[in-house]
């Protein structure tokens, strides 16, 4: 980050991947070579992307810090900034303020089994950690990835799904909400499929992200499976502006999602006022 926390670095879009009808993934490189080479972050941290003249929005850095050629952001087209971002092409310039926020406790997770539960665009923050763990595979126990979306067309990272489903050292389960011709994986809502997979909570940490309603029922399923509150992690989305704990938009009680989050344990969430 710059000394002035509002000053973005200029960056070049090097690749744009059309993930779904309304989600694109952008790979960017910071123009200043020294700053790009020195750029470090931890899985789970977020950044603010700027389209000058339009504004800034917050997205998780969903590449892994183990892969340093570019920073990757997946953007759902929902508003002004994201619509403008979707119009950009490789070679176009944007601003980036990153890294912001806390991260997944990758050191504390060493030696543990991991269950990822991702829904829709909520797969983005999980992708960071999942890829990080694949690149440090021996540090972690059994890894399960449960990833779901409404339909096959709504699944992101399709280019990577074959690798994820075929790897022998990862148990990847894909699901969609309703039956679809040619779909060879699970059909059913994520919390129900989670119960069906029935992962053991022993020495296991569950990490979930998705729409609020999915998170709510996933938390219930994880509790039913016997997971302790401390062993359930999630990342929160909030509307953020400054990204540095000042502007007052993303607080939940005394906590600021942009600084104290976006990663929280369920135990921490239960201590906060109910304002998710």
């Amino acid at each position: 980050m710059n000394a002035n926390p509002y000053l973005p670095d200029m960056a070049t879009i090097v690749e744009v991947i059309q993930e779904t009808h309304n989600i694109k993934t952008f790979r960017i490189v910071i123009n200043n070579e020294e700053r790009m080479a020195a750029f470090t972050f931890r899985p789970g941290q977020v950044g603010q992307l700027s389209v000058f003249g339009v504004g800034e929005s917050t997205f998780v850095i969903n590449s892994s810090p183990t892969r340093k050629d570019y920073l990757q952001f997946s953007v759902m087209r929902v508003g002004e900034v994201t619509t403008r971002l979707h119009q950009l092409q490789p070679g176009d310039q944007i601003g980036v303020r990153a890294p912001l926020g806390n991260s997944f406790p990758v050191e504390d997770l060493k030696g543990k089994n991991i269950v990822f539960v991702g829904g829709g665009i909520g797969m983005a923050p999980l992708r960071t950690l999942f890829t990080y763990m694949l690149d440090n595979r021996k540090d972690y126990g059994d890894i399960t990835l449960l990833y779901g979306a409404r339909s096959p067309a709504d699944l992101t990272y399709k280019a990577e799904l074959p690798e994820w489903t075929e790897r022998k050292d990862v148990n990847t389960v894909l699901t969609i909400d309703n039956p679809f011709d040619g779909w060879e994986h699970k059909v059913g809502l994520i919390p129900n499929v989670l119960l069906e997979i029935n992962p053991s909570p022993k020495n296991t940490v569950a990490i979930t992200c998705g729409p609020p309603i999915m998170i709510k029922f996933t938390l219930q399923a994880l509790k039913k499976l016997g997971f302790e509150d401390e062993n359930i992690l999630t990342t929160l989305e909030k509307r953020m502006k400054c990204g540095v704990g000042i502007c007052g938009r993303c607080n939940i009680g005394t906590k600021y999602v942009c600084m104290d989050g976006p990663v929280f344990t369920y135990a921490q969430l239960k201590e906060l006022p109910s304002e998710l």
């Binding site: 700027s50 000058f52 003249g53 601003g95 729409p211 304002e275």
Partner: protein
């Protein structure tokens, strides 16, 4: 340092300072009193009533440019320029509560992790010459939030009206420099008279309310939406409370597109607005005015004191009460939460 300045010389001081600094002072305008940039010949209104808008803009302007960006064509070769604030400012004639309000900003805008250079530069380059209150209003409650009508905290010079002039006391080195002007004279024994006036003003405010239990009591009421619905029933979500408040510091950042140039601007924002927390997905963590009011009151009297050593994020100026078109009184809301029992 203690000095004396006549009313005429205070105006001269404002005129002299305005030659080299941006001077903000209370001026009567369209039936109200507000802080304006003072220029020679303008009439100060120091005594008729408290300025409707606080002097917050001196250190935290309603709109400021953070960056400008020039580009050849959209998305090609943008050049960013920081636009950090320049020059010095002086606020003359604010009440102590207005000067003290900015102290609430300090632990938020300048931390080990984050330093907001725009705020810090403005704060460090602004001198507050405050005027002790001699007639507290019914909406004033500075004495209940650890302050008082002659509180020097946050001011550089504190003036007290005595006869045809003011006893002027420096609070900071910057204030001491102000008192070196030849427009000030020896205060003689007028200091005692000033002390008596300040003591009388404090007496007029009566007993202070005890907010010590507020942080915990407000949290205990957090999920009681019936309570918050009742408290917010009259609210029209206009946000006057936040805009008038010297201690509200939330802001928005937006881009102002000027063709091949754009400005990134910071503006005061309003947590009582529906869009304040509205997320891109359409989800809103604070969907009703009851949710928003509990956050505003909770922030000032619970979250902030929990994070910052018990200090309330309120200077007790009462502007939010006085200016609320629906007549909502934040004192009554906190008191209701404090007195509530299951």
């Amino acid at each position: 340092m203690e000095r004396f300045i006549t009313k005429e010389n205070l105006i001269r001081l404002a005129e002299e300072l305005s030659a080299t600094c941006r001077v903000l002072a209370p001026v009567a305008s369209c039936g109200t009193v507000t802080f304006r940039r003072f220029l020679p010949g303008m009439v100060l209104d120091l005594h008729s009533r408290m300025a409707a808008v606080s002097p917050k803009a001196a250190t935290f302007p309603q709109t400021e440019t953070l960056l400008t960006v020039k580009r050849e064509i959209p998305e090609k070769k943008p050049e960013i320029t920081e636009t950090l604030p320049e020059g010095k400012s002086v606020v003359i004639g604010c009440r102590p509560c207005g000067a003290r309000g900015k102290l609430i900003f300090n632990p938020v805008y300048e931390t080990d992790k984050t330093k907001d250079p725009y705020y810090i530069q403005r704060r460090d380059n602004t001198v507050f010459i405050s005027l002790a209150c001699d007639r507290p209003e019914t909406t004033c409650f500075c004495h209940s939030v650890g302050s008082g009508p002659a509180d020097p905290d946050g001011s550089d010079v504190l003036l007290t009206l005595v006869g045809e002039g003011y006893v002027a006391r420096s609070v900071t080195p910057a204030g001491e420099d102000v008192l070196k002007s030849a427009l000030f004279t020896d205060a003689g024994d007028k200091g005692k008279e000033a002390d008596a006036k300040n003591a009388k003003a404090r007496e007029m405010m009566g007993e202070a309310h005890d907010y010590v239990s507020a942080p915990a009591k407000l949290l205990a009421r957090f999920d009681d939406m019936d309570f918050w619905a009742a408290q917010s029933a009259k609210c029209i979500s206009c946000g006057a409370c936040t805009y008038m408040c010297p201690t509200c510091y939330c802001f928005n950042i937006t881009d102002d597109d000027l063709g091949l140039e754009s400005r990134r601007i910071r503006t005061w924002d309003n947590c009582m607005s529906h869009t304040f927390t509205l997320e891109g997905s359409g989800h809103n963590p604070r969907p009703t005015k009851a949710h928003r009011l509990k956050n505003r009151v909770g922030h000032k009297f619970s979250y902030y004191p929990d994070l910052h050593g018990g200090v309330m994020a309120c200077c007790g100026c009462g502007r939010c009460i006085k200016q609320c078109p629906a007549g909502i009184d934040i004192r009554q809301i906190v008191k209701a939460a404090q007195e509530y029992s299951e």
